[in-house]
């Protein structure tokens, strides 16, 4: 038994070190955002600033209108995208799960084939910009991410076909319920676990999406928080140049740019960190059903 005890200690030490390695860059970012600008210039970013300061956050507070707008856009596209994506996926998945659905095999193949082959960036970009004129519209931040491909649809379908007893559906139909009524009164309520899991995955992918903004949005007033962060990563003056409100006459030299950048990133992560502990179970489930067929 003694050797096993030893084993546990070694295991814990190794895991603590590895977890710390995962956490370490976040801590650095967090501390950097609270460091005085002069201290950064002298000592660089550090885990324990020689001088604390909230200048970065008070600067961002002055830019509150820009920040709030980007936040608003992110929240909006996340909510609309998640709800619409989930609804469209479930609506597509349900008939495919019904064994009596005509041309079911063909339809399922059409969904599945999108996992195997895609046209790539250039044709997709041209479809959305030239055919649907979505450049610089909020739709460009929502539509490309709704289903991306048929993967989630297939996961939901396999949940429907394994977890929803066919007799329930049949008896409801005989009792005169319409297909839509069966769908939202019976099928959806019985499928909350998979819907929560896929919904969470969609929420995270919308919240984190910067790619659609990068290629479809050039108008700063339509930037989501990720796109704002993306622009500030390459152009530290971006917020200053595009300041919509606040004190734009503030001299560039007095802006604590090095810490402002890090504060922006902190603001971008915090919401995800806040919801993570509560949804970890669903998140882990989403990853494991996604990996090796659900």
């Amino acid at each position: 038994m003694k050797t096993n005890q030893m084993n546990q200690t070694v295991v814990h030490i190794l895991l603590i070190l590895l977890s710390a390695a995962c956490l370490f860059p976040f801590l650095l970012l967090f501390m950097a955002s609270f460091t005085d600008e002069q201290a950064i210039v002298q000592h660089g970013y550090s885990f324990w600033p020689s001088q604390f300061s909230v200048d970065a956050y008070s600067y961002l507070w002055n830019q509150a209108s820009t920040m709030a707008r980007s936040y608003g856009i992110t929240v909006l596209i996340t909510i609309i995208g998640t709800v619409a994506g989930l609804l469209i996926s479930a609506l597509l998945a349900y008939p495919l799960s019904r064994k009596d659905m005509p041309i079911r095999g063909l339809l399922a193949f059409l969904v599945f084939f999108t996992l195997l082959f895609n046209g790539g960036l250039v044709p997709t970009y041209l479809v959305y910009t030239e055919l649907f004129n979505m450049k610089n519209t909020l739709l460009a931040l929502i539509v490309p991410g709704l289903l991306t491909n048929g993967f989630f649809v297939l996961l939901i379908r396999s949940f429907f076909s394994t977890s929803i007893p066919v007799p329930i559906i049949e008896s409801a139909y005989i009792d005169g319920a319409t297909e839509f009524k069966i769908f939202y009164r019976i099928v959806l309520p019985l499928s909350l676990p998979i819907l929560a899991t896929i919904g969470l995955m969609l929420t995270i992918s919308y919240w984190n999406d910067w790619f659609n903004g990068l290629i479809y949005i050039t108008e700063p007033s339509l930037y989501s928080i990720q796109n704002l962060l993306n622009r500030m990563l390459s152009n530290i003056q971006f917020l200053q140049q595009n300041s919509l409100g606040g004190n734009s006459s503030q001299a560039a030299a007095t802006i604590p740019m090095n810490s402002v950048r890090m504060a922006m990133a902190v603001i971008g992560i915090v919401p995800i960190l806040c919801i993570y502990p509560f949804f970890q179970k669903y998140f882990v489930k989403g990853l494991t059903i996604g990996a090796v067929k659900g």
């Binding site: 295991v11 814990h12 895991l15 590895l18 977890s19 995962c22 956490l23 860059p25 976040f26 650095l28 950064i40 660089g44 970013y45 550090s46 996926s89 609506l91 597509l92 008939p95 495919l96 019904r98 659905m101 339809l107 059409l110 599945f112 195997l116 082959f117 046209g119 790539g120 960036l121 250039v122 044709p123 997709t124 041209l126 479809v127 030239e130 055919l131 649907f132 709704l146 289903l147 491909n149 048929g150 649809v153 319409t178 839509f180 769908f183 995270i204 919240w207 984190n208 910067w210 990068l214 290629i215 962060l229 990563l233 390459s234 890090m262 971008g268 993570y276 502990p277 970890q280 882990v284």
Partner: protein, 310 residues
């Protein structure tokens, strides 16, 4: 005829349900699939609209591909894509299995969950944020590495964002850091599924922990390893665009070691406006990628029918 009509009427509601999703897949997936013909055209922007653009532009056969493969570009981006992804597969798999075995050894369930949360944390955040995290470490003037780590060893500051030679290591570490939690959870799920009686019997027979891992754990999770690896090989022609675009800050001097097919296609389309080259590279990726998916899936299905995609 009237039978088919009756059937259609009976299933009208179900067809209505699939309508939005199917329409979406046609727009988002099938139209772009047809759009790959752009790679064989000399796109002329004086025509308006998608169909005008494609219909009126001249066919030029394989010209775009000739340009692409005549330069060194195709070789460099293919090599980078394959080497990075190959390295990622090897490293992610070994480290993730090691970590999953460690996590499985933890008796305290609360502690195990705590470690899992922290290790999975990087997987949750966007690549833009990862770009910031790496910048706070590698920034030339203020970065933690140049200001704190290197001086400890008496090494002069390094201009990380202009020295291409370091990036294969940096990107590999960043990729490992970001994705290890994901792979770890997959393998942990597989290890947890192993029947405990194997270990009990082995312990009675006096097998050491190391022997148990080598002769029980690894062989029993081998199907998962095979499937995960083959699926990854099926996607080896595609790379994580964010990793190669955000983390090196799209820096020009780093391109020899950070440019992959996805970043090349992006740059051709969005920065250089060279649609011909960009779509040719995109088509090359889609085609080889498609073949690789089919081949790897074929191998998976021969080994383990249930794990195959189709």
């Amino acid at each position: 005829m009237s039978d088919a009509f009756k059937k259609l009427k009976r299933y009208r509601a179900l067809f209505l349900m699939i309508l939005p999703g199917m329409a979406y897949l046609i727009i988002n997936n099938y139209l772009p699939m047809l759009g790959v013909v752009i790679a064989f055209k000399d796109i002329d922007y004086s025509h308006r609209g998608l169909f005008g653009l494609i219909y009126y532009s001249d066919w030029i056969g394989l010209k775009n591909f000739e340009y692409l493969f005549k330069t060194n570009d195709a070789l460099v981006i293919t090599r980078n894509t394959l080497l990075y992804n190959g390295g990622f597969i090897l490293l992610n798999t070994t480290v993730a299995i090691g970590l999953a075995i460690l996590l499985n050894e933890v008796r305290n369930r609360l502690a195990s969950r705590f470690y899992q949360s922290l290790i999975l944390l990087p997987y949750l955040i966007s690549m833009v944020i990862v770009g910031y995290l790496v910048l706070s470490l590698l920034n030339v003037e203020n970065g933690f590495v140049n200001k704190v780590v290197l001086p400890m060893f008496g090494i002069d500051p390094i201009s990380w964002y202009s020295e291409a030679k370091y990036w294969p290591y940096i990107l590999t570490i960043v990729n490992l850091w970001k994705n290890i939690g994901y792979f770890c959870i997959i393998y942990l799920a597989s290890i947890i599924g192993i029947d405990h009686e194997y270990y009990e019997a082995a312990t009675i027979d006096g097998a050491s922990k190391w022997q148990q891992i080598r002769s029980i754990t690894i062989p029993l999770i081998a199907p998962t390893i095979t499937v995960m690896t083959l699926l990854a090989i099926g996607r080896i022609f595609y790379s994580d665009f964010g990793l190669f675009y955000q983390v090196p800050l799209n820096s020009g001097p780093l391109q020899p070691t950070t440019d992959v097919i996805d970043t090349y296609v992006y740059r051709g389309l969005m920065t250089l406006g060279d649609i011909g080259m960009s779509s040719a590279a995109g088509f090359y990726q889609a085609l080889v990628g498609f073949i690789l998916v089919l081949v790897s899936n074929y191998i998976v299905s021969r080994r383990d029918r249930d794990s195959a995609l189709f």
